[in-house]
């Protein structure tokens, strides 16, 4: 799937991935890959600007996990993030239904 198509929906994808539970960057990439059956293919490092932006917007919180050989930042969804996820899901489903109605009979 083209990167440009994913870029506009990355926030929704990350919020959905975190809805399953807290996770660090690589774990979130694994969740997205598994749940999409490998459809999403974009530079994995690009999720970090998105995660930082969502955290600044108050949708996520993060902390350094302890007890490891190297530092790991773990993200989790805040209540405001769950509300944003719900809103974006509704918008996405409306959009997807509309697109399907338009292109449904196309060759």
């Amino acid at each position: 799937m083209k990167r440009e198509a994913i870029r506009g929906h990355l926030d929704l994808l990350l919020l959905s991935a975190l809805d399953l539970g807290p996770g660090h960057g690589y774990a979130l990439i694994e969740r997205l890959r598994d749940r999409s059956a490998g459809t999403f293919d974009f530079p994995e490092g690009t999720i970090y600007p998105a995660l930082h932006r969502l955290e600044r917007a108050g949708l996520l919180t993060s902390r350094w996990s302890t007890g490891r050989a190297r530092r790991r930042r773990v993200y989790s969804l805040r209540r405001k993030g769950r509300a944003a996820l719900k809103e974006q899901l509704q918008e996405w489903r409306l959009f997807a239904r509309a697109v399907e109605r338009v292109v449904g009979n196309a060759a």
Binding site: H24, I29, P43, G45, Y48, R70, R71
Partner: protein
């Protein structure tokens, strides 16, 4: 290979505060490397320049914001100096001739437009997006217009009021430079955001 990648990313980020991102990147790459090997992990992560680009866009807006704030504050801070350095005007009353008066009005209106747009930019700063970008662009354009018109006004005022100190024109020169700097940095930030 991962160490080399981190060095490249550090360089690509430039002045951006990078400790957290580098720590997260190292953790990501080392975790991925246990599954697919270092080379594939780095390939999947993406080129350092691509990762650094979005952080540079945010830094660009920070620079633009500081420049806009400076260009908006300068006329306020310099006004007492100008007001107290001007000699008495030769015309009766407080109202200058029409050709100077309308320029004063326009300079004031452009300044107020810049302040209003600056407040919108400040209110939407954390959220970012198109509203913030539009507000910064409007503020920058208003400041450039104000500085340009103010420079013309200062020259004509000096001609109309004998004894006006020549150094006062440097105040508007300073305003012009700050306004142009703010406009350039705003434009650069907008371009980086769209890249």
């Amino acid at each position: 290979m991962i160490e080399d990648y981190l060095r490249q990313l550090r360089r690509a980020l430039g002045f951006w505060p990078k400790a957290r991102l580098l720590a997260e990147t190292e953790d990501h790459l080392r975790s991925a490397a246990t599954d697919v090997g270092e080379e594939e992990a780095i390939r999947r992560f993406g080129a350092p320049a691509e990762i650094a680009r979005s952080f540079r866009a945010r830094l660009g807006w920070l620079y633009a914001g500081v420049a806009l704030a400076g260009a908006l504050a300068f006329p306020v801070l310099s006004y007492p100096i100008v007001e107290n350095s001007l000699p008495p005007a030769p015309w009766p009353g407080d109202r200058p001739p029409d050709y100077l008066h309308w320029q004063q009005d326009k300079v004031a209106q452009l300044f107020l437009l810049g302040v209003a747009a600056g407040l919108v930019a400040a209110a939407t700063w954390r959220r970012g997006g198109r509203i913030r970008m539009a507000a910064c662009v409007v503020a920058a354009l208003a400041l450039v217009g104000m500085a340009a018109l103010g420079a013309v006004l200062s020259v004509q005022w000096a001609d109309a009021v004998p004894g006006t100190p020549a150094w006062l024109s440097s105040v508007w020169l300073g305003q012009c430079l700050l306004a142009v700097l703010a406009a350039v940095l705003t434009g650069r930030a907008a371009l980086l955001s769209r890249a």
